[in-house]
Structure formats: structure tokens, C-alpha cells
Symmetry: C2
Subunit: 259 residues, 2 copies
DNA sequence: TCGAGTTGTATAGATCAATAGACAATGAAA
DNA sequence: TTTCATTGTCTATTGATCTATACAACTCGA
């Protein structure tokens, strides 16, 4: 490898595949930032002309890509100086028996918080009823939450709880700011993650809105069931993560993290 | 909504986002087939005119999407009769302490096999050396494998083994057809999955080639470490899954599936 | 102050993506 | 056979995307 030029192994952009070049370049730059292979320590991108040459396109095409990422909040170009990146590496989100939302992200971000949108009561769909071990049509409470790190959304969760057992879970969650604390008010001292189903897909309109993504981005979706210490499921949740800001790590205990 | 029409929750294609409408529609149809929400029991798609109306585009645009999927092998249109789908639902790939490649897919597919490409010896990168607990630059064996179900690729794995401990692992794997059997020849009677890191991204050119994907498709990538019963890591592997053919399920043992 | 390096703006032409409408060709059922 | 539903082909038009070239505006260090 001879210095500048190729810098990496990344994908070459492809013509005539139904994805505009500027979007492919935007996705590639975003990925490069997430992987940490682009942009120096000061977070400065190579100049537009260099990027244009690297990707084999006109400078205007690179500019269109940068404009999209700037609108997304990932880059911010400064007239006469250069284009700068906001965050660099992906957050690591651990998954295991002891998975907690609030912990785990630990010290990876400077600032981190969770917005909870008031829960609403609704009738359980068959899928949710089955996951929670309830009769189809039982009343459940749906709680919407969004996690952010350094002001950027990194997760968007929708959770369902049995309305009989946890009638005011949404308020308790919002007050306490943490699910574990809210659950203690209902006598759940501890709990385990029983199963997590993971899929990935393109961001749809809702994802683009909730996670501030541009369409074409990739989201990871997890479907999780938490059980109390008696083994009864009490929470079913679907969480969407932006794939270029977050990665998941599954730790089997007994080996690595013994806790 | 009366019967046919909307069928699902997905939809809403977006204009002016740098992704051609025909590609969004192609991705949506593929996803719909994977989720099983499109196409009736005989695997027949709604007619082009109906799809055009549903997506709010011209029939030619739908035709472009179908042409792409036909080229990909997902659909096959028949003059005068209709357009037919090949496979329907996603495979479920379990992940946990007892994760094995060969098992788990079980009876989900009619036919299933693994191609193993002869392993090559190479020097460990720092990442691989660290994962295997070796000195950087140690000799390791790289084994490439591809899993298929019903003739369609569903996984593409690259694994590394310590060359000292497993000098002929590639041949043993290829002969036995199963990793567990190959490992027994080297005295590894049993092993556990210690950790699995999961990320998702767009398919690159290599993915498109290896997994027969069209660009714009989504792949899930796992980075896994297997340890023997003494807790020593002996295998590091990266596996790529096409996200519309496979989903992952993490089962914490002790709760749901006990073995 | 000057010049090199950078991002911002403008204009024009070429190619791709999407629409519109019309009709041909095939398969299946009345 | 006739009719209908379906996929296949053709032509023309509009707008989005990409290229090419030029120059303006801004920052920073010599």
C-alpha cells in the first residue's frame, strides 16, 4: 500500500445499480467514520478533490454526498478550512443475560441520556401476548424510549408490559430514568434477558425520523424478552439501532465476563 | 382495507433520496417475501399493475424492480401467467454457548450443505492474534466456508485457527463436512461460543459475489470466538449473513431453550 | 500582503430514472 | 373461439443525476 490513494479495503462504488453515486459515497464515508478508518485525529476529512479522485467521480458528486451527511449531522463543512466529522467510532452495546439498557454504554460517550415518551395502554397483539405469556387481547402498556449519546440518537425502543402487573410503569420509568429502578417499585428486584432475536434491514421512514437517519442507512432490530427471577416473562421490547453508530456484542457468561 | 390491497405495515417508498424507486421497490418486495407477507401460498406475486398502484409508481418502474429480482434469482416472471417467488421465509440462525454451524438450521430448509474452500496459512493480524491469544504475526490457518439452503447461499464464514495446534484443520473440516467432527481429530471434544459481536451494513462487492446479492442489500456480520473446555480460544471467525434470508436469535441458556 | 489550499456557486451538456400511453404476445378459462 | 388477465416491447417526454469547466469566497501560514 503506497500511502495516500487507496487507504483501505472498502467497497468500490458501483454504477448503474439503482443507487445514486452520491448516496453510495455518503454511506461509505459514514461507514469509514464509524470504523475509524477515515478522518485523522482532529476529525478532518480529506479535501473534496482528493475524495473525488479516490472514488473516481466528479467533485460535485462528492459534494452532494457531503451535503447529505451534513444535513444528517455527521459532517460539518467549513468554508475555506475543510470538512469535519462529529463522532468517530461505533458504540458497543452488550447483550447477554444481564443486559441493561442504561449500563453497558459506560464511558464510551461523553454525554448520554434516555427520553421516555409516556406509555399508552393497548390490546396485546398475538405476538406480544405470546411473548409475555398472556391471553391474546390482554391489556398491555406500551412504552417508547429513545437513547442518545452526545446528542445523537443511538437507540429507539418500544416495550410492552402486562398492564395488570405494571399499571404505572411508564410514569415510574420516566421518574426514575432507569428501568431497573422503576421495576423495583413493582417488586421486581432483579431480572434476566431470556432471548434476543436480531435482524437487520434498511431504515424506513419511521427510523429516519426517530433516529435521524438518511434513508439507505441500515438499522439493526432486536426483539428481546426479559424474565423475572422466577422465570416469568414481564417485558417484550423491540429496539432499533442505527448500524453505523452501534454494534452489538453477545457475551456468553461462564467464560468471558463472569460479572 | 379490503383484503388484498395493503397486506402489511411496510411500504412508503421515498422520492429524491438517492435511491432509485425501482431499487426501493425491489428491496421491499424481497423483504416482503422474506417476512412472508407478500405472495400467496402458490408463491405468486400480485400483478404488475396492482403493485404499481400499491407503490404509487408507473408500471414500468415496478417492472424494473422485478427484472432486478429475477436477475438475482428471487423471482421468475412468466409471460401471460404472472410472476412467481422462489423461497418465502427467513431462516433462523441460533446463537448461544452451544452455537454450531451445522446444526440449528435443522428442518427449516429442504436441502442444506456447506462448501469449504481449502485453507491457507498466513500471518495473524493483530486483531486475530488478540482474539486467539497468540503473538502478533503467528502463523494461522484461514478457512473459508459457505453455507447454502435449497441452493441459495445463506452464510459466508472466514475462520482462523492456530496453525501449530490445528495444522490440517482445513482438510479435516472438508473431509468430515462438520467442524465439530474435524475438531475431535485434534482432541477438542467439545467447545463453547465465548462471544459474538454483531454488526450490519450494506453488501459490498465481495458480499454480492459470495452470497449472490444485489448491491443495496443488507448483510449481518458476526465476529465470533470459540473456546475449548479449558476456556482457551481456538477459533476466531467472521461470518456474513444476507439479512433478508437469515435472522439471528440469541438464547441465554438456563431460561428458555435448555439445550 | 500574498499565495496555496480549501469550500461555495454557476452554467451547460450527457446520461439515467420515471412517467405516459399504446399495443403485441401469451396463457387460461368461459 | 372468444375473452380476459397478464407479461413483454416500443416511443416520447420530463426531471434527477453526473460530468466538465470556471471562478468566487474564505482561512491560514509564509
Amino acid at each position: 500500500m503506497t500511502g495516500a490513494g487507496t487507504t483501505g479495503k472498502r467497497r468500490a462504488i458501483q454504477r448503474g445499480v439503482g443507487v445514486a453515486l452520491w448516496r453510495q459515497i455518503a454511506d461509505d464515508i459514514r461507514g469509514g467514520l464509524a470504523a475509524g478508518t477515515l478522518a485523522g485525529a482532529e476529525g478532518r476529512l480529506p479535501p473534496e478533490a482528493a475524495l473525488a479522485e479516490r472514488f473516481g467521480v466528479n467533485r460535485h458528486t462528492v459534494r452532494a454526498a457531503i451535503a447529505a451527511l451534513a444535513h444528517e449531522g455527521v459532517l460539518h463543512p467549513v468554508h475555506g478550512r475543510g470538512t469535519f466529522a462529529r463522532r468517530q467510532k461505533r458504540l458497543v452495546y452488550p447483550i447477554g443475560e444481564r443486559t441493561r439498557f442504561s449500563t453497558g454504554l459506560g464511558s464510551q460517550a461523553r454525554e448520554r441520556h434516555t427520553d421516555i415518551f409516556a406509555g399508552v395502554q393497548e390490546s396485546a397483539s398475538t405476538e406480544i401476548a405470546k411473548a409475555l405469556g398472556l391471553e391474546a387481547g390482554s391489556k398491555v402498556i406500551r412504552v417508547e424510549a429513545r437513547g442518545s449519546a452526545d446528542g445523537v440518537p443511538v437507540s429507539r425502543a418500544t416495550s410492552w408490559f402486562d398492564a395488570q402487573r405494571f399499571p404505572t410503569i411508564a410514569e415510574a420509568y420516566a421518574d426514575a430514568g432507569s428501568l431497573s429502578a422503576a421495576l423495583r417499585k413493582f417488586g421486581v428486584e432483579d431480572y434476566l434477558r431470556a432471548s434476543t432475536r436480531i435482524e437487520a434491514r434498511h431504515a424506513d421512514e419511521a427510523d429516519a425520523r426517530d433516529l435521524r437517519l438518511s434513508p439507505g442507512a441500515v438499522v439493526i432490530v432486536t426483539h428481546a424478552i426479559n424474565v423475572d427471577m422466577k422465570g416469568d416473562p414481564f417485558q417484550y421490547s423491540r429496539t432499533r439501532f442505527p448500524a453505523d453508530r452501534v454494534e452489538l456484542v453477545v457475551e456468553s457468561q461462564g467464560k468471558t465476563t463472569v460479572d
